[in-house]
Symmetry: C2
Subunit: 204 residues, 2 copies
């Protein structure tokens, strides 16, 4: 922690490399502390091995780092989810694979997962069409689509499907956040949880 690693300065045009390192360090810090408030410019700089003011070359201020970390995380979650859904052909298998991938993502970075949904203060102020908002809804829309394709669409109207998807979403999210928070509860595996959560929505 005291020994600052020797660091080669980036070549011209490679500024993006430092940017990526800053994001990575901030992301690890969130995962380690479970709190985006503990991401300080100075701690991030220490971890990257640069002087604190160097960060201003890449981010307008402290909050810009945090915003960028979460945007990156949502893009990554979206990608993971889409890949899992598309790895199957049967509609119900697609839904199930998506839910499992969702819980696995949360399991790999539990703190980041929790905070990325709950870091709302700045989000609430954004306009409806903002990319950050779109990104967040996109994750939910993947789930809605999978539910819709899984549930026989004949039997439900669109509204109904979305309401079902919301409850599934809530159950996944609850499991994903409570499991690391209450390890003594003896939680079932993600796969078992998905089976139970989807029990009433998937035809057997």
């Amino acid at each position: 922690m005291n020994a600052i690693p020797a660091r080669r300065r980036n070549r011209r045009g490679e500024g993006a490399r430092l940017r990526a390192e800053i994001l990575q360090a901030a992301s690890e810090l969130i995962e380690k502390t479970g709190n985006e408030q503990s991401v300080s410019l100075r701690e991030v700089a220490r971890r990257v091995g640069i002087a604190a003011p160097s960060i201003y070359e890449h981010f307008a201020d402290r909050d810009a780092i945090i915003d960028a970390v979460f945007d990156t995380a949502f893009a990554s979650l979206h990608e993971t989810l889409a890949a899992a859904v598309n790895s199957e052909t049967d509609p119900c298998a697609r839904l199930s694979a998506g839910c499992c991938a969702y819980l696995r993502f949360a399991e790999e970075h539990p703190n980041q997962y929790r905070v990325m949904w709950l870091y709302q203060a700045r989000i609430l102020a954004l306009p409806a069409g903002h990319p950050t908002i779109t990104l967040r809804f996109g994750v939910f829309e993947l789930l809605v689509t999978a539910v819709a394709q899984c549930a026989d669409a004949q039997h439900y109207d669109r509204t109904e499907i979305r309401e079902q998807a919301k409850i599934i979403f809530a159950a996944l999210h609850g499991y994903a956040t409570l499991r690391p928070a209450l390890p003594r509860f003896g939680w079932m595996t993600p796969e078992a949880a998905v089976t139970r959560i989807l029990a009433s929505y998937t035809p057997v």
Copy 2:
């Protein structure tokens, strides 16, 4: 915020009054900021209208205040839940009433509700029998009991009932935390959520 209210000093033996005021202020601060990290001794003192060091008369340190806030919150949740369950006689109505009360509690203090479950750092270090731990499990046990009495106990073994209760718990928790975090999602009411969440567990 600048105008510190005139404050009558407590009589001897009434120290508990200041203690309660400190807890109240800390609790409001958590609810307002959504973050227990923002509970600072100085801000709490400002809100109560006392000098910061006066707090040390009642709490060992900053963390002791936060612990006390959450213990109080869990005791209150437990009481609310128990009262709701006991207000009904039909087993399924009891479960449903408990779940609705749970979501209503979360709705009334959304930030405090979220943080009280997720403020885990110090909890994980406590021994199994610690009152704080017992308090937390107690809330879950109320739910388990209600589920067990609702589901016809003939059909399930004990383990099965607990697993079902965990998923219900996760769904309630997910709804309770996501709804305030993502208001634009257009969430259903707590009652509608409970109906859906319990759909597969309650005989119609």
